[in-house]
């Protein structure tokens, strides 16, 4: 028997290959993936290709779209298309970073609170009550007065630190029911350790749920960020999609027909990114749930 045993080897499936096979199974999901990849890729590679200083064209102030400036120019004669390419980085970064912070906090606290219950659980629940009752944008405004919100990391931290309670509540509820499942008890009986039981046995069962909420959190964080810019609560230095919308508002671009694209372009980018993310969730669900994979 031992000879036979020795011949068995671990099959090494190509994980990347498998990932793409699942990804392409849903057309919608794959389209979403392409869309997100294009936008994120543009914001990353853009500044390396396009001149970051985006020189002023004094001949075209609030210029209409032309062969030279495809999407026209803004009030200081800067090219709108270049602004779009250059200005996505902050928005995308803050969106993803804030969502990551929110999701990690929610998952860690939510699952531990549900698993251990007791005082930790009740303190955390009270905390979420407090955070949830205060309107986020007002809190952000107040915080903006105390902290310098000029760095994207700071913005992400701020937005992420305020938006976890709702997700934490639903993660907690799910873990409460999952931890009663027999496979969790079996893992406890095998003494696999609390860390493993919570984060390897329980949490991955919520993977698609967490993923979808991560994407919703990206969406919300981007809206929160744009909201901050629109209200002028974050410093309006540099150029990004949020500041462009604020500019359009403050400097009156929205009233000039020629500059319609100046306001539409950043909004379109944000909408496309959201759309791509939501479409992507289709594929993610299939990748993360083995039961859907065999269909």
């Amino acid at each position: 028997m031992s000879a036979a045993t020795a011949t068995i080897s671990i099959p090494r499936g190509n994980a990347v290959h498998g990932f793409f096979r699942e990804l392409t199974r849903s057309k919608t999901g794959f389209a979403g993936f392409v869309l997100v990849a294009l936008i994120v890729g543009m914001t990353v590679i853009g500044p390396l290709v396009v001149d970051p200083s985006n020189p002023t064209d004094v001949n075209a102030i609030w210029g209409a779209p032309s062969a030279e400036h495809w999407l026209g120019t803004d009030g200081s004669g800067k090219d709108v298309l270049k602004q779009i390419v250059l200005g996505g980085r902050t928005v995308v970064f803050v969106g993803f970073a804030a969502a990551a912070i929110t999701t990690v906090i929610a998952v860690v606290i939510g699952s531990l609170a549900a698993y251990f219950r007791g005082r930790f659980d009740s303190v955390m629940l009270q905390l979420t009550d407090v955070v949830m009752t205060i309107p986020q944008i007002v809190l952000l405004a107040v915080l903006g007065a105390f902290f310098r919100l000029d760095s994207p990391a700071m913005l992400a931290l701020m937005i992420g630190a305020l938006s976890w309670p709702i997700l934490m509540r639903s993660i907690r509820a799910q873990v409460l029911s999952l931890k009663e499942r027999e496979f969790v008890e079996a893992a406890r009986l095998l003494d696999l350790g609390t860390y493993r039981v919570v984060f390897i046995e329980i949490v991955p069962n919520m993977a698609s749920y967490i993923m979808i909420n991560f994407i919703i959190a990206v969406t919300n964080a981007i809206y929160a960020l744009v909201g901050l810019y629109l209200l002028g609560l974050a410093p309006l230095a540099g150029a990004n999609w949020g500041i462009m919308i604020n500019d359009a508002w403050i400097k009156g671009a929205m009233f000039q027909q020629d500059s319609l694209l100046y306001i539409l372009a950043p909004i379109a980018m944000i909408v496309l990114l959201q759309l791509g993310l939501i479409m992507l969730t289709r594929s993610l669900e299939e990748i993360l749930n083995p039961r859907l994979r065999d269909r």
């Binding site: 028997m1 020795a6 027999e182 009986l189 003494d191 350790g193 493993r196 993360l288």
Partner: protein, 343 residues
């Protein structure tokens, strides 16, 4: 009987659940023990406390009074290391094979996780070969067909075998099987029971086997002991063949009388209602005084039965029965009709 240190023993163990509508004494003062390589079957109807007792024995819940001992030591006053040793030595196989395996984990990961965590396998490839070996033990061959599969790709019987293989990862001394075969089809069930029997013979694993099916208890526990539970207490205890073929407690008799036999002639001899005075089980919240079985008991005698609680009394040849009427008689009645004698 020579007294060896049992693997696991419940000593006067009780478990009372608290609910809004009052306390529920799920298990009341139960003494049971299983030695190395022995089989003890706990049988009874739902709500009789068999699963609660099993969970106490597995250290999954703490008795509200009494103790649970592993190799003579109270598990709830053990040091951390001792408790880990206990945990590894006593494993549990659940009833529902659809709920007891993590749906997102393939069989290989399910089996190798405990092997790697406890250093039984030193690396991934050892984890693989040892997992394959475990699958062979539970007759899932060839193992390489099963290792990469996810639970939803297996049948109920195959899943339950995986659950047993997982229970074997840490070389346990005792397996607690809680209705582990009750959700399987008949043709699958026997294969599973035979496989468990082989584990007992080849690996010397002891079994605490919980079932509501007396025929299964008889088949699996023939060379072991059986404890019949009713409303949280053990009412009859003895060697399996003796208890099954010559029950003494009126409740055990009623249960055996009520089982529909896969034999049309034999089954015509069954007494309607199992010979009981009432078909309804009293609520645990509101137990009858005296012997809790008295409102249904065909041997009921006014006076003692409804005022004094009977204790388990030793009759001859190691049989224990908790019944005033039978205890008064003091010795075992010959089985009615069937061939007398025994092992």
């Amino acid at each position: 009987m020579p007294e060896r240190t049992p693997l696991i023993s419940l000593r006067g163990a009780s478990q009372t659940f608290h609910s809004k509508s009052g306390d529920i004494p799920a298990v009341d003062n139960v003494d049971i023990s299983v030695g190395p390589g022995e089989v003890l079957c706990l049988v009874g109807e739902s709500g009789c406390g068999k699963t609660t007792s099993a969970r106490m024995a597995a250290g999954l819940s703490r008795p509200t009074s009494g103790t649970v001992e592993f190799e003579g030591k109270d598990i709830w006053s053990m040091s951390k290391e001792e408790f880990v040793t206990f945990r590894k030595s006593v494993q549990y196989v659940h009833q529902d094979p659809y709920a007891s395996l993590n749906p997102i984990r393939d069989i290989h990961k399910t089996l190798s996780a405990p092997l790697l965590k406890h250093g039984i396998a030193k690396n991934r490839s050892e984890g693989w070969t040892q997992s394959a070996e475990l699958l062979r033990r539970v007759d899932l061959t060839p193992p390489e067909n099963y290792l990469p599969k996810f639970p939803h790709q297996l049948s109920g019987g195959q899943r339950q075998r995986v659950a047993v293989a997982r229970a074997l990862t840490l070389n346990p001394k005792l397996i607690i099987a809680d209705e582990s075969t009750s959700m399987l089809d008949v043709s699958i069930r026997v294969g599973m029971l035979n496989m468990l029997g082989r584990l007992r013979d080849e690996l010397g694993v002891g079994f605490l086997f919980i079932t509501h099916d007396l025929a299964i208890a008889k088949y699996f526990g023939w060379r072991g002991k059986i404890a019949v539970m009713y409303l949280g207490r053990v009412v009859e205890f003895g060697d399996t063949p003796d208890v099954i073929n010559n029950p003494q407690h009126p409740y055990t008799k009623a249960l055996l009388d009520a089982v529909p036999e896969p034999d049309p002639d034999l089954t015509k001899t069954k007494k309607p209602g199992g010979g009981l005075r009432s078909a309804d089980i009293p609520s645990l919240r509101n137990l009858p005084p005296g012997c809790t079985f008295h409102p249904r008991c065909p041997l009921f005698e006014e006076g003692t039965c409804n005022t004094v609680r009977p204790e388990l009394t030793l009759l001859d040849s190691g049989r224990q029965v908790s019944c005033h009427v039978v205890a008064r008689r003091g010795s075992i009645n010959a089985p009615a009709g069937a061939s007398a004698g025994g092992s």
